[in-house]
Symmetry: C2
Subunit: 295 residues, 2 copies
Amino acid sequence: MPEADAARPAAARAPGTGAVAVVAGAGRLPLLIAEALDRAGRPCRILAIRGFADAATRRRAEAAVDLLDIRGTLARLAAWAPAGVTLAGAVARPSPAALLNTLAAYRNRDALRALASGGDDRLLRGVLDLLEEHGHRILGVHDLAPDLMAPAGLLGAVAPQGVAPASVAAGRALLASLSPHDVGQAAVIAEHRVLAVEGPEGTDRMLARARALARRPLGLGRAPAGMVLVKEAKAGQDLRVDLPAIGPRTVRHAAAAGCAGLAVGAGTTLILDRAETVAAADRLGLFLLGLEARP
Amino acid sequence: MPEADAARPAAARAPGTGAVAVVAGAGRLPLLIAEALDRAGRPCRILAIRGFADAATRRRAEAAVDLLDIRGTLARLAAWAPAGVTLAGAVARPSPAALLNTLAAYRNRDALRALASGGDDRLLRGVLDLLEEHGHRILGVHDLAPDLMAPAGLLGAVAPQGVAPASVAAGRALLASLSPHDVGQAAVIAEHRVLAVEGPEGTDRMLARARALARRPLGLGRAPAGMVLVKEAKAGQDLRVDLPAIGPRTVRHAAAAGCAGLAVGAGTTLILDRAETVAAADRLGLFLLGLEARP
């Protein structure tokens, strides 16, 4: 073991050896990561966040913590001394019950408010910083399970046609312009026309908005030609904190909005359930395109 | 009369002489312009768009046309030979009845669709181009009634405090980045965090979105500190086609969303009913700031 490593806490050992700790929020992602680690023959231990981790995740989890129980989380991770820690799954919208639990345990509304006012990113980054200060190495989905990320190129059977490539280019240009600002990482475009820019509401709600706009009376009930969803991480975005993601539901919502297809950043966008996502795009006649990183 | 002018149709006489024709859509703006022209001692004739112009506008109007009755509109304007023409009031969302009327008269769905697919701006610009080809001089509200536009500086009794000036600066920077793209001209910002970017849905719906986001559970029911609405025309925006506007309703919606204030481009933003707008801001404790043009 090199001298520099010997001086670091056990938890900071190089990834690839020892167990990876998955601190698990809502949705399927925590188990998808666990399964990817299983396939790679890497041990994995799940710490479920109460009120967020779903039943299947909780069944595999070895322990559970409250969302804002930082002390309990640190104690558990110190005991596990994992090779790396990943935070996976949504925690942005706790159930009111979970929130009240947390408040009752801490009674520090001001501290909570200070974190909450910074937005989801700042909340999660605050947690990551704390974990790193305690010697943990933070890993992202793209580190642990690169197979879950979108590859470059056409993923399904449908190719972009007509003005759709122009819509994709306009969407990428828009997102590049937005990159320095703390705003969403997706937009709906029809040729040069921007129908919606994603904010903290998320992609599904943005698509619902685009759907309503595309059906306005003067549009004669038909979506604009070549309307696309473009989703791409900001330049320099910390994918451990904020990972763009799509899944079968995104494809269905994009189809309902009238999109001709989806274009997502290759290597930087998570595809939840790729087989089902591609099948949904094919069935609904939408293209699904992985965009090479900008040069 | 200089020779160059003699060769032009009568309708293209220099503005300031003869009547101004106001082609009037929905809302109060057409009559506000007429009243401003009255105060300036300039004659004014209103051509109401059926299905859009409200009752008060129709009472003052000398004639009415259907929204897409371009031939009838051109004939009426040729007969009036106005010093200038202004299009005022919303026509973006015709009532289904008005739309069916138009369709029944023209039966050219394809032509209508081609215009509609370009969005509101392109539809209106197409009309302006046609009017100009027929020798009419198109004027904007800012030409005819500059008093209706926001002045620079603080308009009400409340001054921006705390992080609000930083929110305003971040909002202006965001809108400047968006300027090259065909997207809305307003955003809701809390310090560096972008809560919403306006698309074709308009400012009121964007504010409703920001209101919902600000009240998410983790936000503890309280809007972020220093949250502001920033609204400003794009660089080089043709204000005759697309004029940013606010009014008392905008102030009420901004207050409901949790905004500390509104900042709008001075000289490029219409304030519908300034006295009532400022009174609403004062009553609700919001600042109302006119932003000097960017250097």
